[in-house]
């Protein structure tokens, strides 16, 4: 027996018969880490006092600008406040901004999407034009315009970010709904004599929900990033609320002497965005039947 290896070209995975094994069987390490991080965020949102080590707003000017240590894991800020505790305390605000902005964007997007896909040709045409017009105001520009009109602040920033994401959601949701509406299972329901209302409530909306939820997880991180950008431009959250974007913007001033004031809130933003994205993707894979 002299079985010789036939070296297969592994560079191109092409055989359609090959089982799709790109993705592992187990939930991946990344997904587990992301989930753990999200659990931490939720804990920090629900019970910040349990997760934090100190009072986030307790000032101690004498302890200002201390680098990370056992007493202050993430160091202290310009007023001697514990950066770790502030990061924890800021979780609720930051997530609230991210979630609210995404919710606003999604709600508008859903409304427009539903109108476009079920409201008949005229509604579809009008919504599509409206979405095109809204697209012509790119993200931050729309946000700035909203801020010009309503003045800066966290609420305006949140609404502005939400509004600027709406056309994207509207387009995706419309596509989703149209695809479902023209799917064979909806046709099968029609053949069974189901009414449009029942088809929408039983088939179309429920099937659109998961992808929309996934979309939302992906959107929250970006919403936080853009809200932070507005904070950086001085148009966002207010002190002493420990919102990550505001902390980061404040910390950037002292970048030369106190890197930890910038790095840790920044890591929280990046980490949250990564975690929600990873989870969103895991959900997508699950929806597609992969692991």
């Amino acid at each position: 027996m002299s079985d010789l290896e036939l070296q297969q070209a592994t560079a191109v995975s092409a055989a359609s018969h090959a089982p799709a094994r790109r993705r592992g069987r187990m939930p991946r390490i990344g997904t587990v880490l992301a989930a753990a991080f999200v659990v931490f965020l939720l804990a920090a949102t629900v019970a910040p006092e349990l997760v934090a080590t100190q009072d986030p707003n307790e000032i101690a000017p004498g302890d200002a600008f201390q680098s990370p240590s056992l007493a202050h894991w993430f160091g202290t800020d310009e007023s001697g406040r514990d950066v770790y505790s502030r990061v924890v305390a800021g979780t609720a605000t930051s997530l609230l901004i991210g979630v609210t902005a995404t919710a606003i964007g999604l709600a508008l997007g859903l409304g427009l999407g539903v109108l476009a896909s079920f409201g008949g040709r005229i509604a579809d045409f009008s919504v599509n034009r409206l979405v095109e017009v809204l697209f012509a105001f790119p993200g931050l520009l729309l946000a700035l315009l909203v801020i010009v009109v309503y003045g800066p602040g966290p609420v305006t920033a949140t609404v502005a970010v939400g509004l600027s994401t709406a056309p994207g959601y509207a387009r995706i949701i419309r596509g989703q709904l149209v695809a479902i509406r023209s799917s064979q299972y909806v046709e099968a329901a029609r053949v069974l004599g189901r009414s449009p209302a029942r088809i929408i409530s039983r088939h179309v909306l429920p099937n659109a929900l998961l992808p929309i939820f996934v979309l939302a997880t992906l959107g929250i991180g970006q919403a936080i990033v853009w809200a932070a950008a507005l904070s950086y431009l001085g148009l966002g959250a207010q002190p002493p609320a420990a919102e990550w974007g505001a902390m980061l913007a404040a910390g950037r001033t002292y970048l030369a002497t106190a890197w930890w004031m910038t790095v840790f809130p920044g890591l929280m933003i990046v980490g949250t965005t990564i975690a929600t994205t990873v989870l969103g993707r895991a959900l997508t894979r699950r929806g597609r039947g992969e692991r």
Partner: protein, 327 residues
């Protein structure tokens, strides 16, 4: 698809393309009109007196006479609807009005700023494309580790806030290594950091899309066909899969440009570059309404043009789109 002679088919495709071009132009004009109208009326919601803004903002101590004079000069005493049509009329002639703060024609002002921002955005878009394509190609078909690594890099890149990334880049490359200037001065070296700052997060997004479509393309039977003809793995990528992977990213370019223009507001501020973003930010701070309106319109115009270009590019890259020209 209708059966027909090749020439018929070609003629009908050309007709459809013309019709499509007509629709695109009409759509573009509509979008611009709508943007102008929305902006005009939205701006009227701004609290405060434009005349006051013209006379040096709210901290000024302008007299009542001066205010009245300005209201007459700028037509602010006209009824709203008359102002609206006057604005539309001016727009048709390319007149965007006069900046409250700089007292210069907005068109001239923005014309001078547009080039820098577009150059920045174009370079960033190109770099993002290169980075994304490189990452997508590198991380696919190389096993699970590379794939996971690629995915990790993409997601992380896409999550980086511009101002944070800029701070890190400046700290490392300007202050630490002293290779690149932290303030863009119009030199080539000065463009490097701003372009990288803008490009990296965008590359993260594009790479996600590209990698997905690259993986899809690599599952297609034509890859096996090509290899069965003796094509090398590299040849398959160069001649087949990369093109397929690029298609969705091409159609994303319109969105990407909008995204870059948003990022430009931050990046231009950090790197002290002249451009639309900074002009807009300053105009927002100064309540310089004509400039805000002008920037919004100009960006809408750029966006609309980009959409048309993207559409054309997608059609060039994907002949299938040319076929179904109808819709």
């Amino acid at each position: 698809m209708t059966p027909g002679s090749p020439t018929d088919e070609r003629r009908s495709i050309r007709g459809a393309t013309l019709r499509r071009a007509g629709l695109l132009v009409a759509g573009a004009v509509f979008v611009l009109w709508a943007v102008a109208t929305l902006t005009f009326f939205a701006i009227r919601l701004i609290p405060g007196d434009p005349a006051q803004a013209i006379l040096g903002g709210p901290g000024s101590q302008a007299s009542q006479e001066a205010l009245d004079q300005v209201r007459r000069d700028y037509g602010l005493d006209q009824p709203l609807i008359a102002q609206y049509f006057a604005m539309l009329g001016r727009l048709l002639t390319g007149d965007l009005g006069v900046s409250y703060a700089l007292k210069l024609p907005v068109a001239d002002l923005l014309g001078a700023q547009l080039g820098g921002t577009l150059l920045l955005a174009a370079l960033a878009l190109m770099l993002a494309w290169i980075l994304a394509l490189g990452l997508a190609i590198w991380s696919t078909g190389r096993g699970r580790v590379a794939s996971a690594l690629g995915e990790g890099v993409e997601i992380t890149a896409a999550a980086l806030p511009h101002f944070w990334l800029a701070a890190v880049l400046i700290a490392v490359f300007s202050v630490g290594l002293g290779w690149l200037p932290p303030v863009a001065t119009g030199t080539l070296a000065g463009f490097v950091l701003p372009v990288v700052t803008l490009a990296v997060p965008l590359a993260g997004f594009l790479a996600q899309v590209m990698r997905e479509s690259l993986l899809d393309a690599m599952q297609q039977p034509f890859v096996v066909s090509a290899r069965a003809r003796g094509e090398s793995a590299l040849g398959v990528r160069a001649r087949h899969t990369i093109r397929h992977a690029s298609l969705p990213a091409i159609s994303l370019s319109g969105w990407a440009l909008g995204w870059l223009l948003s990022g430009a507001v931050v990046v231009e501020t950090i790197f002290a570059m002249p451009g639309l973003g900074r002009t807009l930010l300053q105009a927002v701070t100064l309540r310089d309404i004509p400039v805000v309106t002008g920037v919004v319109l100009l960006v809408a115009l750029v966006y609309v043009l980009m959409t048309v270009l993207t559409d054309l590019a997608a059609r060039i890259a994907d002949p299938r789109l040319r076929q179904e020209a109808g819709r």
